[in-house]
């Protein structure tokens, strides 16, 4: 039976890629330990491969294996969200029941930590001035005028640097198949 992954690969000129077998075993074990209540581990593994393949197609992927695990965690989180939105007969009548919120929160925190780790990579790749401006604005909460004075640059340059930094981070996350979650 063709899986979503095999279909995607067959349609995407990526059929020559070898798929890692052994890491999947570790990935399954990892997901079971991490999300013991998640019912559809196999779907998740497939989904993770699909997303990895998309990320690879979209751009530069350096650590394929690390990314696969990261993506799987995000897929797990998405799965929790889907279950919460479309409760089956096994679910209590209230989709916001404490059980599901607990799971979603646990996955949410994990997802957020992964996102932050990835974001640090994106930030490390920014030009120093651009990162400096983001830190002064986001962490030190200086106004753009104060930042301009401190760095001896024009205010509109500060805004431009903030915009460039944000765009590069968004681009980086998208290429890695990660969607920043709502606050």
């Amino acid at each position: 039976m063709p899986t979503p992954l095999s279909i995607a690969l067959a349609h995407g000129n990526a059929a020559t890629e070898s798929l890692p077998g052994e890491p999947d075993t570790r990935l399954r074990g990892y997901l079971r330990r991490r999300f013991p209540r998640l019912p559809d581990i196999e779907d998740l593994v497939q989904e993770a491969h699909l997303r990895l393949w998309r990320a690879k197609r979209a751009g530069n992927v350096r650590s394929e294996r690390g990314l696969l695990f990261s993506i799987a965690r995000h897929a797990a989180f998405d799965s929790f969200r889907r279950h919460a939105k479309h409760p089956t007969e096994r679910l209590p009548e209230d989709p916001d029941s404490a059980v599901y919120l607990d799971d979603a929160n646990a996955a949410d925190i994990t997802s957020r930590q992964e996102e932050v780790a990835l974001l640090r990579q994106a930030l490390a790749a920014l030009p120093e001035r651009c990162r400096e401006v983001l830190v002064l604005r986001r962490i030190h909460a200086l106004s753009h005028r104060e930042i301009a004075e401190r760095l001896g640059i024009a205010e509109h340059t500060v805004e431009k640097q903030v915009g460039i930094g944000l765009r590069k981070c968004l681009d980086f996350l998208r290429r890695h198949g990660v969607d920043p979650r709502r606050a």
């Binding site: 998309r54 979209a58 949410d108 925190i109 957020r112 930590q113 996102e115 932050v116 974001l119 640090r120 930030l123 983001l134 830190v135 604005r137 986001r138 962490i139 030190h140 753009h144 205010e155 500060v158 805004e159 431009k160 903030v162 915009g163 460039i164 944000l166 765009r167 981070c169 968004l170 681009d171 996350l173 998208r174 969607d179 920043p180 979650r181 709502r182 606050a183």
Partner: protein, 84 residues
């Protein structure tokens, strides 16, 4: 995903980043009106704006770990060793 779709997404993403930077500068009334028009013009705009705002929140955690400032759980989202 067609090349056009990628282009559209990337363009909306870049616009969302610029709007967020403008918001941080402080928006004039005409800025705010233009922003509202942009936001409603295409669902892709709203989606990319949502990503940009989520990124802004996440940046607090991502940047705070640097030595430039003391680490703090600004958003309160991450588990901390707070006393009960």
């Amino acid at each position: 995903v067609s090349p056009d779709a990628v282009h559209t997404t990337a363009a909306a993403e870049a616009a969302a980043a610029r709007w967020l930077a403008r918001r941080e500068s402080g928006m004039s009334e005409s800025d705010a009106a233009a922003f509202t028009r942009w936001l409603g013009a295409d669902p892709i705009h709203a989606e990319q704006w949502r990503r940009a705002e989520a990124l802004w929140t996440a940046l607090g955690d991502a940047l705070a770990d640097r030595p430039v400032s003391a680490p703090r759980a600004e958003s309160g989202r991450l588990i901390s060793g707070r006393a009960p």
